[in-house]
Structures are given as structure tokens and as C-alpha cells.
Symmetry: C2
Subunit: 357 residues, 2 copies
């Protein structure tokens, strides 16, 4: 347990949950389910159960420093690794790996996004513990695969070879497929959703970065005597200016041939869209889901209603619609049109000089 | 002008504009059009142009005393006549008539609701001036009739005899007709909407009360030495306990045979429903009306959107719907179902112990 480390990636700035998520408060900082805790807080507490708090690092954009320290008062500020610009997941993870290396020679490392939802936390932690046990004894890269419940076209898929007890060697990674292909994947039984949660030991991931992304690794390697000092912020500013924009999936996982996957079902959703939030939400007998507020419905079905706390909605004659209300914005949009929210946000911001980003 | 008096009736507590109007702030106190002024303030200022401010009396429920004095700082508190209970318009007007009598022997009196909207104010004031001229010379009861623009079933109608220059003798008053009858009324050209705005001189209305509602008149007559003293509030409490609940239309106007009407069009609406507000509101090319906020529409038509100030709405795929948002309530309801709002309010309040009245 003292040897377990976690890297929580919290730099995202998604627009898909607008107007609930905003530029200054992306979705990882929001309390989606009205539990009183943000997705980041839930993620932190989840891993806090299997390692000391000081072994958890949060990597995020420097914009969110204060918000992170406010939401996670248990953290020391040095545990928040600040990125000056967004360079996707590979530089983010490489930076954090070097920080862990500056403290220890051996570590079991979990990498996890901060903005996913996990409903079956106990199942999840069992799997994580099994994964930690595995990577502490095997120099392989491990990822968590989710048994697909539908032919989702928004996720990456992992094809696996035969394995035992749901631990399989990875055959291929596939990016977002079209619907036809997604159906083939799901029916084959060989494909799993890529959760973006990784486990590996320190030596193995270092070796993989050296092999497949040496140009990134050498940038952060140069700072080995600087991590933890007052010079770190300046060094990182310079380092990020040199970094390519590249994901860990594309840069490392897809190229390595020692990648394994634990296939599981722990009530996972990446909460990528209002629709995915609707899917996992509790619904009344007419398929209406209500988050963090209350609503009375009349002749209404299959809606998702998200208002501010302590607010009530009275909804008549509305179907298949997302209704989201925040401080200064009300969004009403058919569920099937939610991919256009990005367009709507751009247009309202054009009108108001970016006030509603 | 010194002899002109106005009685503004401001005691209503309508539920039809819920959640925008609430028990503690009925519609006369609200700024419906985002002009910065409530309907009561607009009404007061309208009459202020043709008489001294001290000749304007506001009759309302005692609940609203502070709100009225806050919205109309020009008023002395004695100009706000407080009713302990709601007894409809006849007692309200009789009380105010006695108050005017305590000050003067001759007066031209206008009675007007506080919660109607008048768009063509100059036309309205011309008509009022013409009416004042008429009642100062004729001992008749005068009412303002509105040329009907549609077979509205929510209004009372006035049938008129032949007249000149739009001043006609009233033949009959008819309460809310059904749609078929309303169509006949409108097509006949003989029927006008009853605006609820009355003009008469002091002697004439006293005589009418004596003739048709002596039981009400005698109650308030007993206070003739008390009006304007510290005993008035106690006297009025007792008086209202004895008063029947009766309207001026039913109690006086329909019974008198000296009732005349000026027929006119001054952009009047009683703002009785969200639908009537929608009718008179400015709309975009798709029939969407937006009040006191801003909205971007996509594939949406014939909606009425009323949010709090400085808020924006993004609306996709919504039609023929009322959307109203206030501090703690969001209402979404098809326009054609708005008569059910009363039911919705009752049900949400049953659930929350009246919190959302």
C-alpha cells in the first residue's frame, strides 16, 4: 500500500456538458449526481482507500490549481502538477512518472481520468487490487477494459486474445468505430471498451516511454534534479513548449506488445455526453431522469432535467429532451441533437464575446 | 384636473402567471416587459399625468402594503387603502368612494385595475380625458369597451346600442361566453370586451350604490367620521367581516340602466394568462417571444421564454411552449395547456408544504 501511487488526470476542458460545465469549471469539478462531491473528489477518495493520500498526484492545467486545492484540502500543493498548456495524456503521464521517480525507486502506479463515473466502487477496487498485484509481479502494461453493453461509437475498443479469469493479452487497439463496425465488435465478444485507466510499475512504464516516446521522455528526464524544487514551474513551462501533443494510447499502448487488459464491469461511464449521463441515471416509470433538483412531470417522457440545487421543475408536454439550467444559462435541447451543443455554445459566445464559455 | 380622482385596484393574487407571480408578489408588482417598472407603477404613472398624485388611491390587501409603498414612493401611506380580506370589487370601490367623499363633495372618478397592460398610452389618455369630460357633465356610469380582435372566451362582453363617436349606451353585460357564442359576438359588431375600467362622478356612483348595493354602502357609510383617523384600520376590519363578496359588474353595472361605454382600441390586454402575454409580445420570424432575457433558437417556433434578467437561453427543438424560470422554479408547459398551471402549482405545493405558492 505504501508503494502504490496514483496519477489522476484532471486537465480536461470539455464543452459537451455545457452549460453545466464551463471553461472555468470543467466537468471533473462538478457534482453531477447531487452527492455533494465532484467527480474529482469521488476519484480521489476512491484511490485514497488503497494508498496514502500523499501518493496521489493530480495533473491539471494551471488554471485549475486553486479549484483543486479547494476541493481536495487533504493535498499538499506539491501534489498538484500544473501543466502550462494541454499536450494530451502522454506528456502529462511522463511528467508525473518523473515526479514519482524523484521520490522512489519502485512503485505500482495507477493512472486514471478524474471525470469518469464508477458506480460499483467495491468491484472497481477489487479489480484495482488484483491489477496492482499483477503489475507488482509482471513487467507488463495493464489497462482496464469494460464489457460493452451497446455498440457505442464514441469509445475506443480493445481486442483481446484468449485469457484466463478475465486477464487477457491485448491484440489491437481500435479508435472510435462506425456503428456497423461497433456492432460487429460487440457481437464478437472479443472487444472491450477502453476505459483509459492504466496500471504499471515504475520500471515498466519508464522502459516503454524510452522505447516508444524517447523524445518526450528525454524532455522530462532533464529535470530530474529539479522536481520538487522552486525551479520546477519554470522548467515545466519550457518542457511543455517542446512537447508534442500525443496521447498515451497512440504513443505507447498501441505500440507496445506487452499490454494486458483486465475485462470487467464496474458500472463505468466516461460521462462523455448528457446522453451517457442519462443512460446511467435513475429514471421514473416514464424514463425521466432528474439530477440534483426535483421535478413534477405531466405527459412527459425520456427527459433529463438538471437544475440547480433546491430548485423544482414543473414539466408538461416535453419528450426526449435535455433541460439544463445554471447560474446564467438555460439549455433545452433534444437528446438526439446534443452533439450540436458545441455549435450552440460557439454561437451564443460569438454574440456575447465569450461570456458564456 | 384637481377634481380628478383615481382608484387603482391592486389586491389581486392570481396564480395564472406562476411561477413568475407568486403569493407574496402577484403580477401587478412584476415587471413583465423588462421595462424596469411593474404593472402597478405603469398604471400609477399613467394616471399621474392627468391628476395630482395625492388624488390617486390604491386599494389592496394588507399583505402588500410595504411592497406598494416601496414601488410608489410618491404615495403617502394614507393613500394606500388596505383590505383585511378579499371581497371582490364592489366593497373595494365603495370603501374608496367613501374615502374620496371624506375629502371632497365633487369628484370625477376613474377606477382601474393595476395589472392590465396598455400599449397605446396616448390613445388611452385621450379616451380617459374624453370620458372625464363626459362624466363631469352627465350623471351616468361609464365603462371602457375594447374592440374585440378575436373570439376570446376568457373575457366579459358588453353589448351596445347604436351610439355616436363610439360612445354608446350599454344594452347588456355578458359573462365569459363559450367559443361559439364568442364568435357570434365578435362578428355581430355589437359586442365589446369589458376592460374593467370605469368612470363616474361621485354623486352618480353613490346613488348607484344606494340603489343596487345598499347593504354594502351602509357598512362603509357608518365610517364617515372615521376615515383618515387612527381608528380607520379597526373600523375597516369590522366592516369587511360584514361585507358580501360581490363584483361591481354584477352588483351595480349590470343592474343600472344609465351605463354607457366608450368603445376604443388602446392596445389593451388584461394579461390574464401567459397566452395573452405571448399574444401582445414582440416575436421573431418563427413566432418566438422572449421577455427580459435573451435566447438563441434552433428548430423552435411559437414559444414564450421568460427567464431572469441577464440570463440567456439556448433552445433547440421546442415548439408552442411556455418556459418560465424564477429563483427556485422552472416551468415548461405547452401553451395550450396553460389553464392547468393552477393544478401544477397545487400539486407541487402539496409536495412541498406550500413552499412554491
Amino acid at each position: 500500500m505504501q508503494n502504490n501511487y496514483c496519477i489522476i488526470m484532471a486537465g480536461g476542458a470539455g464543452m459537451r456538458f455545457w452549460p453545466y460545465s464551463r471553461n472555468e469549471r470543467p466537468k471533473q469539478f462538478l457534482d453531477f449526481l447531487g452527492t455533494g462531491k465532484s467527480l474529482l473528489q469521488l476519484t480521489f477518495e476512491r484511490f485514497r482507500r488503497i494508498m496514502p493520500a500523499e501518493n496521489i498526484l493530480i495533473v491539471s492545467n494551471c488554471l485549475y490549481r486553486d479549484l483543486i486545492l479547494e476541493q481536495l484540502p487533504e493535498l499538499k500543493s506539491e501534489q498538484v502538477l500544473l501543466e502550462p498548456t494541454r499536450r494530451n495524456t502522454a506528456p502529462c503521464i511522463n511528467y508525473a512518472i518523473h515526479r514519482i521517480r524523484a521520490k522512489t525507486d519502485t512503485a505500482n502506479i495507477i493512472v486514471a481520468p478524474s471525470d469518469h463515473l464508477i458506480l460499483k466502487e467495491d468491484v472497481f477496487l477489487q479489480i484495482i487490487n488484483r491489477g496492482i498485484d499483477y503489475i507488482s509481479k509482471n513487467n507488463n502494461l495493464l489497462t482496464l477494459g469494460i464489457k460493452p453493453s451497446r455498440p457505442e461509437t464514441g469509445y475506443g475498443y480493445i481486442q483481446v486474445e484468449e485469457g484466463k479469469a478475465n486477464l487477457c493479452k491485448v491484440k489491437t487497439f481500435t479508435e472510435k468505430p462506425n456503428l456497423e463496425l461497433a456492432k460487429v465488435f460487440v457481437n464478437s465478444g472479443e472487444f472491450y471498451w477502453n476505459s483509459g485507466i492504466f496500471l504499471w510499475n515504475l520500471q515498466t512504464i519508464e522502459r516503454a516511454f524510452n522505447a516508444f516516446l524517447p523524445e518526450v521522455n528525454s524532455i522530462f528526464e532533464k529535470g530530474k534534479n529539479i522536481y520538487g524544487t522552486l525551479q520546477e514551474a519554470d522548467f515545466i513551462n519550457d518542457a511543455y513548449a517542446l512537447c508534442p501533443n500525443i496521447s498515451i494510447d497512440y504513443g505507447v499502448m498501441e505500440k507496445a506488445n506487452n499490454v494486458y487488459v483486465i475485462c470487467a464491469d464496474f458500472g463505468w461511464t466516461d460521462l462523455g455526453t448528457w446522453g451517457s449521463l442519462y443512460e446511467i441515471s435513475e429514471k421514473d416509470e416514464n424514463g425521466n431522469a432528474v439530477l440534483s433538483c426535483d421535478a413534477n412531470f405531466y405527459e412527459s417522457a425520456n427527459n433529463l432535467i438538471v437544475l440547480q440545487k433546491d430548485k423544482v421543475a414543473v414539466i408538461q408536454g416535453l419528450n426526449d429532451t435535455i433541460v439544463v439550467e445554471t447560474d446564467n444559462v438555460l439549455l433545452i435541447c433534444k437528446k438526439e441533437e446534443e452533439q450540436r451543443i458545441r455549435q450552440f455554445v460557439n454561437e451564443i459566445n460569438l454574440k456575447y464575446n465569450g461570456e458564456f464559455n
